[in-house]
Every structure is written in structure tokens, then in C-alpha cells.
């Protein structure tokens, strides 16, 4: 079993390696020359800074060497300097990281838990009203763009009802140190809600399908023949046979989550990594773009690895077979 996990881990490393090459190639295909952009922007860069910059990007070096020096720098944690903010990319990422994490983390947990519950309820009441409602709700939401959902929530809750603020992570014009925790929460609700609502639909649909499959198995038929009530069937058989795939799916969801956060953050002007990436992309700040992309990809790959491995580890049948 350890062998299986190691194999997959190594595979992930090779994929990350491939990813870095891919990104590197894309960067060098770009129409913007990072050095010129940096220098030409305004003349305030000192000769040393320009040299450091040139060294980082391997200007005047062969292609393979360029990759080598860049990859080496990456592994040391040097992601270069942002063109827009004139600060090390890694610092910018660090400062925005927590804000994004709070948003994505909450949406991840909420959509997982609520989605699972809804999926189970729908499957166990198949064909009845509640199932129809949940199905309709999920189907519609899955076709809805996240940002439109966000806009609607904005209109209803921030503009009409005025329950929540229109954007940002904290009240404007207030000093960083003076922002209260409750204010942060206040600004956080709508973006988090936006992200969660769509995630719930996805998880609910998948769970419902899986649950219906389980309810059609012979062992559930037998459980029924032995007089187990619906609740007992769920508690004894439904839960254990569906929870693992559900959790695996959650871990594979990281990618969608990050994409969604880009949109939600844009709608609410929430300063997380997502909106930073958008700004970087629009303004052509390559180092920052690449930095955020690599970090987020790292998370997504890790999530996929966990999803992959989790099933094998916990299922007693494969555990034995090793």
C-alpha cells in the first residue's frame, strides 16, 4: 500500500515538473518581455535591481539554462518581482493568501456538508416533492455562471436589503489596525455564500446519483428484507458506502474552487488571490501571474493526489490487497 501511495506521489512530482515546463514555455511565448516591462515602466529601477531581474529571467542565456535558473529560483522560494507592485511576488501572495483561504475554505466545507445532506435526502426520497425540488435547484444552479449569482446576491442583499456591504474585505477608509473582526465577517458573507451555493449544487447531484446506486444494490435490498427502516438503511449502509467517494470528490474540487473564487472576488472586489490574478493578467504582470498560477496549481495537484489515494487507503478491500 505504501508502494501505491509513493508511486502516485512521484507521479505528482513529475506532473508538477511538467507543469513548470509548460508554464515556462508559455511565459516565453508571451508578447510581453518582462524585463522591458519592468524597466520601461518608470525609470525608478536601479541598475542592481535590473541586473537581479535579468538574472532571474535568465536573459542572455540559452533556453535550457533559462529554465534551469528559473526552476532553481522557484525551489528556493524566489518567484521574482511583481511588475505592478514592485515587490517580491512571494510576499504579495503571502499577504493575500489568508483572505482567499478563508473564502475558499468556508465554501469548501459548506458545499461539502450541505451538498452531501441534500444529495442523500433527494436520493432517499426519490420521486417525491423534495427530490424534485433539489433536482431542479441543482440542475439550474449548475448552468448558472458564478459571477451572475454573485451579482444577483449583491443586488438583493447589498443594494435592496442593505444587509451587507457592496464589496471589499473591510470598510473603506478605515485603517487596517482598526478593522474589527465582525466587519471582516460582514464583508465575507456574500462572497462566501456565492461560492458555496454553486458548490452545493454540484455535490448534491453527485451524491444523489451515488446514493441511488447504493439504494439499488442487493445488500440494501437485503437490509430492507430484514426490516431495516429507511433511517437505519442510511445509517448502517448508505453512509459508509457513499462517504468515501464523496470526500474524494471534495478533494478533487479544489480546481473549480479556485476558478470560482476568481469570479466571486471580482464581483465583490474582495482582495484575495483570485482578484489579484485577474488584475495581474489584465495589466500584464507576468511574474505575479505565474507565481499565483504555480501556487494554486500546487494546491490543486495535491488535492487530486489526496482524492486519488484516499479511496484506496480507507477501503478495506484494497487495503488488504496492498
Amino acid at each position: 500500500m505504501v508502494a501505491t501511495i509513493s508511486v502516485r506521489f512521484i507521479r505528482m512530482l513529475t506532473l508538477l515538473f511538467g507543469l513548470s515546463i509548460l508554464t515556462f514555455t508559455l511565459v516565453h511565448l508571451s508578447p510581453i518581455d518582462p524585463v522591458n516591462a519592468y524597466v520601461g515602466g518608470d525609470g525608478s529601477a536601479s541598475p542592481e535591481q535590473i541586473e537581479k531581474f535579468k538574472a532571474y529571467w535568465g536573459v542572455d542565456q540559452g533556453l535550457v539554462q533559462k529554465y534551469g535558473s528559473w526552476a532553481g529560483a522557484l525551489l528556493e522560494g524566489n518567484f521574482g518581482t511583481s511588475l505592478l507592485y514592485r515587490a517580491p511576488v512571494i510576499d504579495i501572495i503571502q499577504s493575500r493568501f489568508l483572505t482567499s483561504l478563508a473564502l475558499m475554505g468556508t465554501a469548501w466545507v459548506l458545499s461539502g456538508v450541505i451538498g452531501y445532506a441534500l444529495g442523500v435526502i433527494a436520493a432517499m426520497n426519490r420521486g417525491k416533492w423534495i427530490d424534485k425540488i433539489i433536482k431542479w435547484y441543482s440542475y439550474t444552479l449548475v448552468s448558472t455562471p458564478i459571477f451572475w449569482m454573485g451579482l444577483i446576491l449583491l443586488i438583493v442583499f447589498a443594494v435592496w436589503l442593505k444587509w451587507f456591504p457592496v464589496g471589499l474585505a473591510a470598510p473603506a477608509g478605515v485603517m487596517e489596525s482598526e478593522v474589527r473582526w465582525i466587519d471582516r465577517l460582514h464583508h465575507f458573507v456574500l462572497p462566501a455564500l456565492t461560492l458555496s451555493i454553486l458548490g452545493v449544487a454540484n455535490v448534491a447531484m453527485h451524491t444523489r446519483e451515488k446514493m441511488i446506486d447504493i439504494l439499488n444494490t442487493e445488500y440494501v435490498l437485503f437490509a430492507k428484507a430484514r426490516g431495516e427502516s429507511s433511517w437505519q438503511i442510511f445509517k448502517n449502509h448508505g453512509l459508509r458506502n457513499s462517504i468515501l467517494p464523496a470526500i474524494s470528490l471534495q478533494f478533487a474540487y479544489f480546481g473549480e474552487l479556485f476558478g470560482g473564487s476568481m469570479l466571486a472576488e471580482q464581483v465583490f472586489s474582495y482582495p484575495g488571490l483570485g482578484s489579484t490574478l485577474t488584475t495581474a493578467g489584465l495589466k500584464g504582470d507576468l511574474p505575479l501571474m505565474v507565481g499565483i498560477i504555480l501556487i494554486s496549481s500546487l494546491f490543486v495537484f495535491a488535492g487530486n493526489l489526496i482524492a486519488d489515494v484516499l479511496g484506496k487507503v480507507v477501503d478495506p478491500r484494497t487495503r488488504e490487497a496492498g
Binding site: 511565459v27 448552468s143 455562471p145 451579482l151 443586488i155 443594494v159 473549480e256
Partner: protein
């Protein structure tokens, strides 16, 4: 055995849904060609009007009729959707077939590539590709198709692997038929339903992603009537209460996406009857 002519069953409902979805899309396309561009002229009409009979979706701050803008925008989305889906499907089918038929090494390599692309967070990479490709429709099409071919490729690969070892293929080969013949006459028809379903189901994804990209500001210039741009411009006017700029275009978009989704689903259920006997 006894044949039962039933009134209304689930299958019949499916056919109805299919007809409605197709009809809706057809009407939309028709409208996009017949609605006059007059409504789009700046200053042509009253500005900032709420929805009314003459302006179903209201007008925006430049006096343009929102209904016309939305419909034309959707046509653009559909066109981009068609190209992108086609490109995506082509890449997927190629990769899938190559992986399954060119030997173990090719399979390992291509599977690795598939895993690589599956692992990339979609929107993130689309932004990068779009940026690199210089924006515009070209960038969007490239960005979306290069990130979405993976799922279908996997399906094609597993289907081809399965039939490759089927008896009728072996027999065909033993008759001396070339690999090309086998591929054309046996494999393509066998994978066609799945490819069709994949193509149809890719549309909703593509349309949503295109809207997202244009909403963020990548790809198209602000004058193009794309739904994403309509919505992102509308965002600036929310606080002044012009809700119709957001609600209606979005709703129509949702309906379009849902129609494609529904068409794809019905198609899938009809070609895989085992999935519904209710």
C-alpha cells in the same frame, strides 16, 4: 407479452424537453439575425429605462436596447461555443485514439499529459493562455479548448481500448484490413455516441467559461456585445438600482446553457436506455 400504449411516461417527457430546448435555441438564433441593429445605435432611444413592452429588457445608460444586445451577445457565445467545442472534441478524439492504439509507451505518455491538464485549475490557465495568445476571440477559443479536452479524451481512450480487443476487430484484422479501415468502419461508429454526447455537453461549459473570461475582461474589446461584457459593465450600475441590466441577460444565459445541457442529457439517456426504465 403485451404492448401497452401509455399516456404520459418519463420517456415521452424527455422527448418533449428535447423539443422545447431545440425550439428555444432555434428561436434565439432566428431573433439574433432578424433583430435590427438600430436598437444598438448610441443615443437612439431613452436611456436607463426599466423593462417595458417596447424594450423587453430595458435600456442601458447609452440608450441601447438590452434585449437586442443580449440576443446578439448570445449568438456570439453560441458561435464561440461551437468552434471551441469542435476544437476540443477533435483534440480529445485524437488523443484518445492515439493513446489506445499506438502502443503502451504512447499510452503512458498521453495519459500523463491528460493528468497534467486535468490537474490545472481551469480558469487560471485559461487566463494565462488567453493572455499569451494576445486576447481576442482567438485567445478565448484557444484557452478554453486547450483546458477542456481531457474528460472526453479519457472516455474515448477507454472506449477504444475496450473495443480494440473485441472479437469483431480481431476478425477484421485477420481478414487483412488495414488499421485505417478498422478505425473508420468499426471504431469511429462505436465511439460516435459518446463523442456526440461529449460535444453537446461541452457547449454549456464553454459558454459559461467564455462568459466568465469576458466578464473578467479578458479576450474581447468592450464594444463587442458579449454577455460577459454586458454583465461586467452592468456591475458598475448596480448601486444606482438598475437591476434589469444584470438580471435579464443573465437569466437568458442560464436558459441557453440549460437548454444545451438538457439536449445533451436527453441524447445520452436515449442512447443508453439502460439508464432509465421508470
Amino acid at each position: 407479452m403485451q404492448l401497452v400504449r401509455e399516456g404520459w411516461n418519463v420517456r415521452k417527457k424527455m422527448v418533449l424537453m428535447l423539443a422545447i430546448s431545440l425550439g428555444f435555441l432555434f428561436v434565439l438564433l432566428l431573433l439574433s439575425f432578424t433583430l435590427s441593429n438600430d436598437h444598438l445605435r448610441l443615443g437612439a432611444g431613452a436611456k436607463n429605462m426599466a423593462p417595458s413592452l417596447s424594450h423587453l429588457f430595458g435600456t442601458d445608460w447609452l440608450g441601447r436596447d438590452m434585449f437586442t444586445r443580449t440576443i446578439k451577445g448570445l449568438r456570439l457565445s453560441l458561435t464561440i461555443g461551437a468552434f471551441t467545442s469542435l476544437l476540443s472534441v477533435l483534440i480529445a478524439v485524437m488523443m484518445g485514439i492515439c493513446a489506445a492504439t499506438f502502443g503502451k509507451t504512447a499510452d503512458t505518455v498521453i495519459s500523463w499529459v491528460i493528468d497534467l491538464f486535468i490537474g490545472m485549475p481551469h480558469l487560471v490557465f485559461m487566463v494565462l493562455i488567453c493572455f499569451i495568445a494576445g486576447g481576442g476571440i482567438y485567445g478565448i477559443v484557444l484557452g478554453i479548448s486547450l483546458t477542456h479536452w481531457t474528460a472526453l479524451a479519457r472516455v474515448v481512450r477507454s472506449e477504444v481500448l475496450q473495443i480494440k480487443n473485441a472479437e469483431y476487430i480481431q476478425i477484421s484484422k485477420s481478414y487483412g484490413k488495414s488499421a485505417w479501415y478498422v478505425a473508420r468502419k468499426h471504431m469511429l461508429p462505436a465511439i460516435f455516441p459518446q463523442v456526440m454526447i461529449g460535444f453537446l455537453l461541452m457547449f454549456p461549459h464553454v459558454i459559461l467559461h467564455e462568459a466568465a473570461l469576458t466578464f473578467l475582461g479578458f479576450g474581447l474589446s468592450p464594444q463587442t456585445p458579449a454577455v460577459g461584457i454586458i454583465l461586467s459593465e452592468a456591475m458598475n450600475h448596480i448601486s444606482t438600482g438598475k437591476w434589469w441590466l444584470v438580471v435579464f441577460p443573465g437569466m437568458l444565459l442560464v436558459m441557453v446553457v440549460k437548454s444545451f445541457d438538457s439536449i445533451g442529457e436527453q441524447f445520452r439517456r436515449m442512447t443508453e436506455p439502460a439508464s432509465s426504465h421508470e
